[in-house]
Each structure stands twice: as C-alpha cells, then as structure tokens.
Subunit: 459 residues, 2 copies
C-alpha cells in the first residue's frame, strides 16, 4: 500500500492537460486496477441494492428508497458534492394479478407470464383464440378478418446468428415495443409475445411497450421461451385453442423523483464535466442486478477508486445515477435539458448499461479526432483484455447529452449472457460475477482518467 | 440452408494449399459460425456427458463409460475413421470417507473437505494441532521444531490482482502440487490447503498433488475459501485447536484405458495431421463440465461442423479425446510418443482446456513465421470478438507434441469465472452457457480451417 501512495504522489506531480505520457498513464491504470481488484466495494454495494431494496421501477416507493440509498452511499464516500436533481417520472404499476393459461384437449395449461411495461390491464379476464405470427408483415397479410377479436401471439425467436446478442435484441425489439399497438390496428383484443430472451427457460421477460394514438390500447404480456415454444406447438395441434389473460396493471399519474449526482470537483476545469453513469431504476421483477444495478455500483466505484488512489481530476467528474431509464428515459432527458439550460459544458460521458459482464472495451460516438485519440489508448488497455475500441452507441441515459462538443462512450461487455437475465425475475445478484463486475469498474475508471487527462478535444 | 450449400460449393471450388483469399476465408468462417450457432450440438452433447456419465477420473469405470460414449458419438457423426489408442493410466480412488473438523472452545466445527488427487489415506483418523503458513519459506523458517507432529495449513489466498486468473492459479499451484511433500520434510502428519479458487463459497477444490522420494507420504486435503478463512480466524483465537482429518483415498495399480481419435481424412495431405482436442477425464467431483467436458464437445463439434458445411480438408483433421490429463497426462504423453514412433507429421494442434467460457482469441507456441501468419488472421476473426492473438501456452494434452515442425495453439477464453468452478463439485453443466460454449467451438473450427488451408509453414 505504501508503494501505491509513493507511486501516486510521483504521478500526480507534473500532470497537466493534454500531456501524454505512456509510462505515467500506464502506472495510473495499474493503480486503478489494483485498487478495484484488491479493495473493490461494488460487488458488496450491489448486494445491498439487490437484497435490501430489490427491484425499483421508476415512480415506485422502491425507486425512492434506491435514490435515498444512492445519495447516502455517495455521501459516505466523502465525495466533494452529492445532490439530487428533480425528475418527473412516469408511474406504472403491475398490480397483484398476472395470469395466463390456455385450454387444449380439455386440459388447462397455466404458464408464467409478465405484463409488458406500460400495458393496460385486462379489466377482468380476456379469453380468445390465438393467432400466431412472427412479423408485422404476417400480421398485415392476415388482416382484420383473421385477427379481430383474437389474441395475437408474436412467436419470433431471437436470432442465434447475431454474434453480439444486442443485435438479436434489436431485431426483435419491435414485437415488444410495438406488438400490442400493431395488433390493435387489426382489432385484436390482446397481445402476447415470446420473450426477448436467449435463455431456454421458463422466465418471462418484461420491458416497455408503447401504444399509438388513434387505436385501442390492448393488454400485452410476455411468455417464456419454453412456454412460447409449447404454445406454438399446441396451436399447430389445435388452432382454435383459447387463451385466457388476466392483468391488473395500470398507468398512474406522473410523480416527482430524482437523479442522484455525486461529484469530485476538477482542479483546473471545475466547470467542465465528465459524466459516468447508469440507471438506478429497474424493471419491477427480479432485482435489476445486471440491468442496471451493475452500472450504478460501477459508476460509484469509479469515483471511490479515483479518490482512494489520491487522484485529483482536472475536470469535475460526476457519477450520475439516472432515474427511470426503463419507462421513458426521464432521468436522461431531464439531466441533458437541465445542463443545456444552465450552459454547463460536458466534455465526455460514459455509461455502463450492458450488465456486469466481463468488459471487452468501449464503443464511442464522437468526431473523427476524438475517435483517433480514443483508439490510441488501446495499447494502454490491451493488457487488461480491453480490445474493442469501436464506433457505436453509448447509452440511453447519456444519449440526450449529445451535441457537437461532447464525446459519448459505452462500456462494451461480453454480451452472450445478458439476455438470459435482462428484464426477468432471474436478473439477481447471484448471477453477477464479482471479478467481472470489478473488471468493468476498473476499465471505466481507467477511461475516465484518460478522458480527464486529455480533456478529449472538441474537434 | 440452400444458400449455405451453394455458398459452400462455390467456396470449395478452386481451393488449394497456401492460397490466401480474404473473401473466401471470410465466407467460410461465416458459414462455420452459422452452422454452430444455428445447429450446434455441443451443448446437448455436454449435457449427456455431464448428466448421464458424470465425473470421470482416469482409471475409473466412469472414464471407461466416457470413452465408449465419445467413440459412439463420433461414429454416429460418420467421420471417416474413429478408433481407440491404448493408454496406460494411473488409478487413484477417493473412497467413501472424507471428513474434516476442528475443535475450538469445546465446540466441534465440521467442514467440507476434498482429498487432493493422489493423496494417501489417513488410515483411521489423524488429530493434531495446526500450523498455518502462506509460503514454503514460512514453513522452512518454522522448521521441524514447530511443525513436527502437526497438520500444516497452507492458507494462501488467490492473488486478486492477476488480470487473468490463470496467473493467480499459477502462483498458488505449488501449495497444492507440493504442499504435502514440503510439509512432510519437517515432520508434519498431514496437510490442508486453502482451495485454489476465486469463489467466496464453501466448495473445496481438488487437484493433483505429488510426493517426493525419500520423504514420508502424508495425507493432503483442500478446504473451501470460506472455511479456510474461518479456520484461519479460529487459529488466531486458539492456536492450539486440534484438527481431525479422515480420508479413505488410495493409489491403485495402473490400468489400461484409451484415447479416442476421430478423423476426417485429408484430400491432399492425408498423412499430415491437424489435431483439435481436450481431455475426456475429469476430477472425480462435480461433472467436469468446464474442465474439460467443454473442450471435448467443442473438439467433436469442430469435426461435425466442417462435415456439415461440406468442407473437405486438405490435411487429415483429428479430434483427439485425451484420457487422464488430470493425474499424469498419460493420454497426451502416449499420443505424442506413438506419433513420433510412427513418424506421423503433425502440422498443428489446438486444445481447449480453459472452460466453456466466451472466447477471446488464441495463444500459440511456434516459430516467428508461424506467429506472423497466425497474427494475420486477426482481421478475419475480430468480427467474432476474437482479439487476443498472443504467444503463450497451448494445452497440457498437446504439449508433448512440440517439435520443430508443429505449431501449437490454445483457445483463449475469458478466465474470470473458471476458478470459481475448476476441480470442484460446482463444475456442473448448469454453469456452462450455451452461447459461450458454441462461440468457442466456432472459433476453434475457424482456426482449424485456416490452419488447414495454409498448412502453416514449418519455418
């Protein structure tokens, strides 16, 4: 430990903006990894969030508790400033009733289902025949004649050929995001979908769905992969089987909650900001461990680590725990518009919202000059198994910050397991590996350090 | 599927040794990934091996069943040739009794333990005071005076700072491999070690230990990480606490078992071999899912995939399921010496023995020219998230093949979770992710294809 302090003291003398020094940066990255891997607190913090607060949908009492926890935790670390930013968030509740079943050959098959986020309830039970399709085109071809009065079942598997599972998720996003809205256009009375999941199990996966103005709002729910396959087979044997759906969910008036913001003040450019963040809310099943408890505890760990190794940043570094990404991105939108109206310059922002899996590198949105600088850091970071330095999306929460100046980054993690857990009751702390989570936090702290040192150029 | 067949037919016309063609190779790698990800059978095969055969220590009846299974499976795929190679293997049995406990403050604490592979039994119970050390130097400093008649406890944690957990394992290897032998030099009556594990849980991890000629053989066993920490604390409170160890394990006479070898015959160089393999045996607790069931089913999947896409290799490609890597490397040694005495030229060999985790790339042992060629494939493979093309070890089983001609490769997988499971009762099928396993198999098949096409140069 003494070695570290001496090392840090040496390193911290003579730092100035724009100065590039491979040996210095390399030693600093090493210090960061040592701190996180030997003294990391993010895994323990995630345990508290998952087990003592649990899932925390925007607008809920549980989200309120998570905000209190985030603020208290940051205050306990003694960061320079911790404060709350008011955010008006949507508020949807699942309610206590969620049932799905179908009858075939005189037998009733009950199956686990989960209402899609934002769905209307069924107001009692809905029982109807089921029409199974894979695409919106198939639905259109069937037309109102064959759809009216029925429950539409989007039974489209995730594409196994996508190397990164996010691409498979992207391909199927529409059946969850717009499935009920599309089905309603042809007179359907309900909509069920195959979960956007890579796991061959019985966990249904929720997530936001949106209605379209001018069409009825019909209830939407997801079935697990195993149950979707079984229902698909049952429908082939008995096309007239009847499905019964009962959901008690409802949309409530918007309420005020808060983004949590913690800062280490910059020594040279205190009014220029570098943000690291994730979203504090989660869907209301499971524990929101990977999505996005991981990003939250990692973002806090970045600040904790920089402070622990005695690093004083040039720019003000902010951990932002955004509220309500899942159902409206209210925290991200509010933060960006507040920053714009206050005229606060953001140099860079980094988000972790791909789960607490082993990190692969980063993706970035920015200018060519910013990208070249970013690429140049790969040799520093390859010893830590960070190889992917690609152009691509950053994160939903920080997305609204995009302007000509700011460079946006996303932590790229290995994606193979993410959609096994995402938005399901199986997204629990036990499925997050301590070392993988810590490797992500250390990678993030390293990038934030490098961004701070170079003050990544505007052009 | 039709597209694939047409594509393959196009690709296969005009192939010749040494021809390098990015577009052709790129299309072939894409075909390989498509086949494995859409029609892969390795995850299902692993399920059978783990659940219907289970763990399979060299010399055991269960290993014999695994050999039968491997041969039958390869035959069912219709490879050109499937045969067994006799191997004389060591034979150690755990027996039915394995107990550990200690008494402190009048209370008896029982804890799960596992005998180290190759350990002698206790021949009844051993009860003695415990002397805890971290290193062999500490043991030496204590000397015979403080060690004689006691149980030595090597309580050295895995180094969390190692980025790749294999390095931490390497650092601690000696306490398992030589701990009992070293303790015996100072008159200890038994040896217990902290498991070489990255998991903070109660699973003890076994593995081979070796005795030294001229010193007594004393029994050795491993405790879990949690129990090691607890025992360490108990010893601080009560340095004279007594530990009781009871093990029924014993070394039996060597027996004959077999390597399983499956081939697709080369069209141009049938007498030149490219090997892909792993080890069929496992330790005798858990299911040997990651270690090394994964490598076995991946190696078979490589041949299945090349056959399924209609690829006819130039060289003879062999999947070798080596027997008894864990306790003597008998299969690997026997294979290499048989090949040398038969004068069979091996062009390249690839092993998967790091678990069925997400692949990162490959490591290689070979000449500079071979390494340069290998590096040149990185652009082909980066779209599949394979970035690590490094010099380094290959695999224990294929290691004895090393000569001036052959290039050896190891599949590099993400190492963060491996030692959570390795050699423990928790190394079970449920902890292997289907997509991660398949990504590894596809990466391996791609490398084998490239090696076959170029016939990697001797110099």
């Amino acid at each position: 430990m003494k070695l570290l302090i001496i090392l840090s003291a040496t390193l911290l003398s003579g730092l100035s903006k724009g100065q590039s020094n491979f040996a210095r940066d390399s030693a600093m990255v090493s210090s960061i990894y040592q701190e996180v891997l030997a003294h990391g607190e993010c895994h323990e913090n995630l345990h508290f969030l998952c087990k003592n607060i649990g899932n925390r949908l925007g607008g809920s009492l549980s989200a309120e508790r998570a905000i209190d926890w985030g603020k208290s935790l940051c205050e306990s670390y003694g960061f320079d400033r911790v404060f709350l930013m008011p955010v008006e968030v949507s508020h949807w509740e699942r309610g206590g009733v969620e049932k799905g079943s179908y009858k075939t050959s005189g037998k009733t098959v009950k199956l686990p289902i989960t209402a899609l986020g934002g769905s209307v309830g069924t107001n009692g039970k809905i029982t109807a025949e089921v029409v199974a399709v894979k695409t919106f085109d198939e639905l259109k071809d069937l037309g109102r004649e064959k759809v009216e009065g029925k429950i539409v079942f989007f039974n489209r598997p995730m594409d196994p050929l996508a190397i990164n599972t996010g691409a498979a998720y992207g391909n199927n996003y529409e059946i969850r995001g717009s499935g009920p809205a599309e089905a309603a256009k042809y007179g359907a009375v309900g909509c069920i979908i195959r979960s956007l999941s890579t796991a061959d199990d019985r966990f249904p996966h929720t997530g936001a769905t949106e209605y379209q103005d001018g069409f009825p709002k019909i209830p939407g729910a997801a079935l697990s992969v195993v149950d979707s396959r079984a229902l698909g087979q049952a429908l082939q044997a008995d096309p007239h089987l009847r499905f019964t759906l009962e959901l008690s969910c409802e949309l409530l008036p918007r309420v005020q909650q808060h983004n949590v913001i913690a800062e280490i003040t910059g020594t040279e450019f205190p009014d220029q900001y570098i943000v690291v963040g994730g979203h504090l809310d989660s869907w209301d099943i499971g524990e929101g461990a990977h999505d996005d408890g991981a990003g939250i505890v990692q973002s806090i760990e970045v600040l904790r680590t920089l402070k622990a190794i005695g690093y004083r940043p040039l720019h003000t570094i902010r951990a932002v725990l955004f509220i309500n990404e899942e159902f409206g991105n209210d925290g991200g939108e509010t933060y960006a518009s507040a920053m714009k109206s206050e005229g606060r310059v953001h140099v860079a922002a980094l988000e972790s919202d791909g789960g607490g899996f082993t990190p692969r590198g980063f993706s970035m949105q920015g200018t060519d000059a910013q990208y070249e600088l970013f690429r140049s850091w790969s040799t520093l970071l390859e010893p830590y198994n960070l190889f992917a330095f690609r152009r691509g999306g950053s994160g939903t929460d920080i997305g609204p910050l995009k302007d000509d100046r700011v460079a946006l980054f996303g932590l790229t993690v290995d994606s193979q397991r993410y959609f096994d857990f995402h938005h399901s009751a199986n997204d629990i702390w036990e499925n997050v590996n301590k070392r993988e989570l810590e490797m992500g936090a250390a990678a993030m702290a390293s990038l934030i350090y490098l961004l701070d040192q170079t003050g990544i150029p505007a052009e």
